[in-house]
């Protein structure tokens, strides 16, 4: 087996504040190979903070870890310049809403091409060629027309496909996707996920999928980590999610309405202190 792409041991993220510090991520450990790993949790579980901590995008927070390596490099001690080289080029991030991640006053094609020129140092013409090819790869039917559109002229699903194109173009090793399809309609969501799935699998990219949606990670990922109150409480193969043993995971599954369900009152999780205790084999 190859060495893990991402190796985390004892990662904690602390936000200093006026009313005492907040521990957003509490002693999290996991490894990520070239696979699709899902992180599920509710708001406030620290899942998004975790994703941003990996890219060192939290200027206010204090990040500590026993080990936090990406492809053998220590992310904690890496100087900011080297970190800038990693971000975008080797580790990239797809955010929830393309409306806020694309520059509204530049044509989308130019933005994709710029990602190419910055990270791959290719010529203008080559960048354009590669961008068009990439837009085609995310199944945009008419890439030449879309290339010249502005972000407000494309739909949400199209925007997110453009974001995926932009993020995958520099051929990163790791992609962190933070709720990549939450802003999309259900019919578009599947389409975007399929595209992401195909590209990630074909190119052997490691994917960290952060989501609140249990169905999504179960269908899409290989492995799932469940986060609660800043901790990873359970880690299991996505296919076994229904057989989760941790009471919190079970409670989350039971709280979900299902099509064709029996319509009895949904089980409302009663938050218990012992939920913070992890269960099952730890990575």
């Amino acid at each position: 087996m190859t060495a893990p792409l991402l190796d985390l041991r004892g990662l904690s993220v602390l936000y200093p504040g006026e009313h005492g510090a907040t521990l957003a991520v509490d002693n999290v450990s996991f490894t990520l190979r070239r696979e699709k790993l899902g992180i599920v949790g509710e708001s406030g579980s620290g899942k998004s903070t975790l994703g941003r901590a990996l890219l060192r995008l939290l200027p206010q927070a204090r990040i500590t870890a026993e080990r936090m390596t990406f492809d053998g490099m220590d992310l904690l001690s890496l100087p900011e310049r080297a970190m800038r080289h990693l971000r975008g080029r080797r580790m990239s991030m797809i955010l929830q809403d393309p409306k806020f991640s694309l520059n509204p006053i530049r044509r989308v094609g130019d933005q994709v091409a710029e990602a190419c020129r910055i990270h791959l140092r290719c010529s203008r013409a080559e960048a354009r060629e590669r961008s068009l090819a990439m837009l085609e790869a995310v199944q945009i039917a008419d890439p030449r027309r879309v290339y010249h559109l502005y972000p407000h002229e494309v739909s949400g699903g199209m925007g997110q496909r453009i974001m995926i194109a932009m993020m995958l173009l520099p051929e990163p090793d790791l992609v962190i996707a933070d709720e990549p399809t939450s802003a999309l309609d259900v019919t578009v969501r599947l389409q975007v996920l399929r595209i992401l799935d195909r590209l990630v699998t074909e190119r052997g990219i490691g994917l960290l999928m952060i989501s609140h949606d249990l169905n999504l990670v179960r269908n899409f990922c290989d492995r799932v980590l469940i986060m609660y109150a800043g901790r990873v409480v359970e880690s299991l193969p996505a296919a076994d999610l229904e057989r989760a043993r941790h009471p919190y995971t079970q409670a989350l599954l039971a709280a979900q309405p299902r099509i064709g369900g029996d319509r009895s009152p949904l089980k409302v999780p009663e938050r218990r202190a012992d939920w913070k205790e992890p269960i099952g084999p730890q990575p």
Partner: protein, 248 residues
């Protein structure tokens, strides 16, 4: 308990039709769902029924009375609405007490304190929450306060505009249970908008699938699980939702 009848409802924004020829009837005490994707006009239907939008054509009746002929006071006491975003639907500078007292003052209802306490108890919040402000409440608690505010005027019809889509799964379960129980206990008629078919299936008896300002098909809840829809778009939507829930 009052039925809701919508006939040939249309509204345009300039030259662009937002809704065209919407028609459905909801029996008294029924929960009727409106599903569709963003931009399909499902929330607009609710805003027309609530008279938050007035420049529509067609006919909307509640309990057999045309809502345009209903005096304001009676309309308010017939139909109320719960909004999607619990962070935006409560006035940030008003305490729970003020928010709940407003309708009582406007309608000059008797026994204000008793009504206040009953509404809060009904949504399962303790009485000391009366003096809290929205920023001191969690998302689920805010949505409970918003429901309590809608209940105070004792309407027969509640319009629910994505009441849980801004909430976490566990909080969504709480709010859905509360809404189901209120309907069972008080016999409300619900018109519920959601993009989540699982939520609609859990709550509603029948549903209308909307696309681009039109209703493409009205279905029974039972048609969802086996995807018994006939219209291609409705089939596609249900298929995608089933696939999302069950995987490939």
């Amino acid at each position: 308990m009052k039925p809701v009848d919508v006939e040939d409802l249309s509204i345009r924004l300039g030259d662009v039709p937002i809704l065209s020829g919407i028609g459905f009837s909801v029996a008294a005490g029924e929960c009727f769902g409106l599903v569709g994707e963003s931009g399909s006009g499902k929330s607009t239907v609710l805003r027309c029924i609530a008279q938050l939008m007035v420049h529509w054509q067609g006919r909307i009746r509640i309990g057999g009375t045309d809502i345009r002929r209903m005096p304001l006071q009676e309309r308010c006491r017939s139909v109320q609405m719960v909004f999607q975003d619990p962070y935006g639907s409560l006035h940030p500078r008003q305490s729970v007490r003020t928010a709940l007292s407003e309708p009582i003052r406007i309608h000059r209802l008797d026994r204000p304190q008793e009504r206040l306490e009953r509404a809060l108890t009904e949504v399962g919040l303790p009485l000391h929450f009366l003096d809290r402000f929205p920023h001191q409440l969690s998302g689920g608690q805010r949505q409970r306060v918003a429901i309590a505010r809608a209940l105070i005027l004792e309407p027969a019809v509640l319009l629910l505009d994505e009441p849980t889509s801004a909430l976490d799964v566990s909080v969504q379960a709480e709010v859905l249970n509360l809404l189901s129980e209120l309907r069972r206990r008080r016999g409300f008629t619900y018109v519920m908008v959601s993009h989540d078919l699982a939520v609609i299936d859990h709550m509603c008896d029948r549903l209308a699938v909307m696309q681009a300002g039109r209703i493409v098909e009205i279905l029974d809840r039972a048609a969802l699980i086996g995807n018994g829809a006939r219209h291609p778009y409705a089939r596609q939507l249900i298929e995608a939702s089933l696939e999302h829930e069950r995987g490939r």
